[in-house]
Symmetry: C2
Subunit: 481 residues, 2 copies
């Protein structure tokens, strides 16, 4: 072996040894963060329902919705902050569009924030009243805009200037005057395809045009920070910038918004984005990923309070009444209310660590895990030491199908069930049927499990194909276990 | 404005000016690469079928399969190289699992390479004879292995050592002796969850164990390079390493493979992976992406010849008969035989370039585009100068839904149809129904368009949900146009 290679090897080996000591100090978050309880044998349950038994009953992988946790988040968003009226809360459908989950929210007064013709259709189909629907997004079909105008939904937020023109044309056609908001982008947030920039003056210009169009009832401003909100400071700065823009518009042409829609962006306390450096540490040195500090993250209640306080304080300063506040939570509402259960299909040993645990769920169902910290547990060995580093690979036969490059878990055997925490945001909508049918979704409520969505069967994956399929006998809806 | 910011701004502006001059020199690949023809008005057609008319008829977005191009690739893979018997060709189902496309290949003698219980089921359902099926991948369910053994498929390639044990147990249970190969990994290719390493000695050890197991008919070696094969040298080196390993196994314990399965990995000449630097150039400086040089890429025929020559030459050197050669093309077979048609929903102007063209297809349907060069055309303005840089954004209301940060096209209007080339590999399997139903798939053959798969309807997206949905009247299967 050439000397350079030997030296590189030695350096890598010593760094790995150091990393092993670091790894031993990294502690996972406690189970109670997800209302999970371990029995004396180390088997996890939720409201008395054993997770391993859920897999026996409904198959693996499996999405598990925790109704009680969802109700808690709903209450935290909907209850008024001290000294303020309650905010109007519209759930971001795209985050986790499961009808059973949406219905639970709607039953408790949460509205629908939709971003496509399909989502508008779904909200109406679920019986949501038009006055409880907000329609956002950069791609709204003409048909769906006509529906939204004709049914008089609560708010259509125009994504950009050119869309205002389209909405106006369709409003003339339908013969109704829609309630319209304008999406604006603040300095710290997303731009690109979204909104009109406050800083460049485009937002003011577009708003002025909109207000002069008698076909539109321009009653709202709409903004998303985009970047995750984890501190009171971030939330305050964002709200402040939008409020200052509103004041600017008032001074410029007397615009007074009835509603300000502050979008979503609040983070999930037990999830954190992974930077490139952390990912490389995990991949190259098998360094354990550090969980976030949930208590350092702004809670839902505190977020609501900060937004309401800041809106009131800006309004007071400007000598105006506070506008009505709309919130559009996605991640923060459902992120920590779902688990993804998966099973170890095989453990592949190699001379070089780590062992590879090949799971029946990978990026096909949990794409977000590649760029976020999500805690992973054994569902049956919670009392055993997490002393083995595993590469967690998925089933789709692609080198990219690795969830984590090294993750310490108790010793795993084929068939062992694992839990991926915080699966309630962007797991279901980003799921594919890549070589493996999509799993069932169950809801745990009051200690009872109910099937919300059955697993895809093989036949479902070719149901839209117009091809004459031969049937050689093996046609039962088999599942991969 | 602080001086540092002004300076940064100036530097960025001058770099962008330089980049604009670079951009003007970047030429797209010619239309004939995809058999596309432009008429005098600049409207593209394929075998006389106008692409814009296809959208009128079948909706947008739309997958378009070009049967003739697929037949050409099939012939290139299946025809014998000079002086050699033909290779046995098995198509990698996961790359593009559309029944109509698979059937066309099977009708011409191409077998099925499957990597999941679902894909095995699909191959049998399509009438593929068991002798024309190879079963690969790291996650094979017990049920599907029993089926594969009982039906005596051509080959089960064990992904790793632990899987050999499982196959053996199931073979005992079924009472048949399956034809088994061992997946090995070469020095330049994938490792991780795949295969047993040749370099570490693990492959030899696993193979020795397998050969001593009388329940298994170990008749094959299996390898994928993984990294794209674009030159004769790469192909030759890879084949050589596998052949040398086979010889090592013969000398060690007399193993003589009847079959060597060299997997896939051949690249598509008109597609190239994008490096981080190129992506940053595109994002930050709006630098035009450079198309690959298709003629510099190893053609299918040359690839087949190189593999056959190298196998024969190694066998000769070792004084053995050449083994039977199996190939498992994915990308190289279907990649350049499909187009994805999409429409401009809106053009968002901003004071700062580029304009954003918001399309009805984004990463929900074309995830691969984020990491690969794919050519994009206007389907109706092919005779106009590509002189405007557009950011190409998708519909899913996520900042990540950007296909390219800057791409020069003729001036676009809402409704303009675009073509994304080379959509026949990893577009369909990685597709999601994220807020927008998945599109139809049509096949063009001899100037006629046939529907292979109809578009998803809104109802399809909640068909598996067990929830009582209310029906407020608007329940027709609307499509976003």
């Amino acid at each position: 072996m050439p000397i350079a290679r030997v030296a590189k090897r030695l350096v890598k080996d010593s760094l790995r040894a150091l990393t092993r000591r670091w790894n031993e100090r990294v502690q996972p978050l406690p189970l109670h963060r997800w209302d999970l309880v371990a029995d004396a044998r180390g088997r996890l349950s939720l409201e008395g329902v054993e997770l391993a038994e859920l897999i026996q009953r409904f198959g693996s992988p499996l999405h598990v919705v925790h109704a009680q946790a969802l109700r808690r988040n709903i209450a935290d968003f909907c209850e008024p902050a001290p000294g303020h009226p309650p905010c109007a809360v519209y759930y971001s459908y795209k985050t986790n569009p499961i009808p059973g989950v949406l219905q639970l929210m709607h039953a408790r007064g949460v509205g629908a924030e939709v971003i496509s013709a399909y989502e508008l259709w779904l909200a109406l189909r679920l019986g949501v009243a038009p006055r409880d629907i907000i329609y956002n997004g950069p791609v709204k079909s003409d048909d769906s805009l006509r529906q939204a105008i004709a049914r008089e939904i609560y708010l259509i937020n125009a994504n950009h200037r050119e869309e205002l023109v389209r909405i106006s044309t369709l409003a003339h056609e339908v013969g109704k005057r829609p309630r319209v908001g304008l999406r604006v982008t603040t300095s710290g947030g997303w731009a690109g395809q979204f909104g009109c920039s406050i800083a460049s003056g485009e937002a003011l210009e577009a708003l002025r045009e909109a207000c002069s169009d008698s076909a539109l009832d321009v009653c709202a401003l709409h903004a998303h920070l985009g970047a995750p909100i984890r501190s009171a400071e971030t939330a305050r700065g964002f709200v402040h910038e939008v409020m200052e823009f509103a004041e600017q518009a008032r001074q410029a042409f007397g615009f007074v918004p009835e509603v300000i829609d502050f979008g979503g962006s609040l983070g999930v306390p037990t999830v954190a984005g992974l930077g490139e450096r952390e990912k490389r540490f995990n991949m190259t040195l098998l360094g354990e990923l550090t969980p976030p500090s949930p208590d350092a993250s702004l809670s839902i209640r505190d977020y609501v309070r900060v937004v309401c306080d800041e809106v009131a304080s800006c309004a007071r300063r400007h000598g105006r009444d506070a506008p009505k506040i709309v919130l559009e939570p996605g991640r923060a509402m459902t992120g920590n209310t779902q688990l993804l259960l998966t099973s170890v299909h095989s453990v592949k040993s190699t001379r070089e660590p780590p062992l590879t645990a090949i799971l029946d769920a990978g990026i096909n169902l949990a794409q977000s895990v590649q760029s976020e910290y999500h805690q992973v547990f054994s569902a049956t060995k919670a009392n055993q030491e997490r002393n083995i580093a595993y590469r967690l690979a998925g089933p789709i036969c692609s080198p990219g199908d690795v969830l984590y490059w090294s993750y310490r878990l108790p010793q795993l055997e084929p068939g062992d069930p694992l839990v991926i925490a915080d699966a309630g945001a962007y797991f279901v909508p980003f799921a594919t049927s890549f070589s493996f049918p999509q799993p069932a979704i169950v809801m745990i409520d009051n200690g009872r499990a109910t099937l919300l969505r059955r697993a895809e069967r093989f036949e479902d994956l070719v149901a839209l194909d117009d091809t004459q399929l031969n049937a050689p006998g093996w046609d039962r809806a088999d599942r991969v276990n």
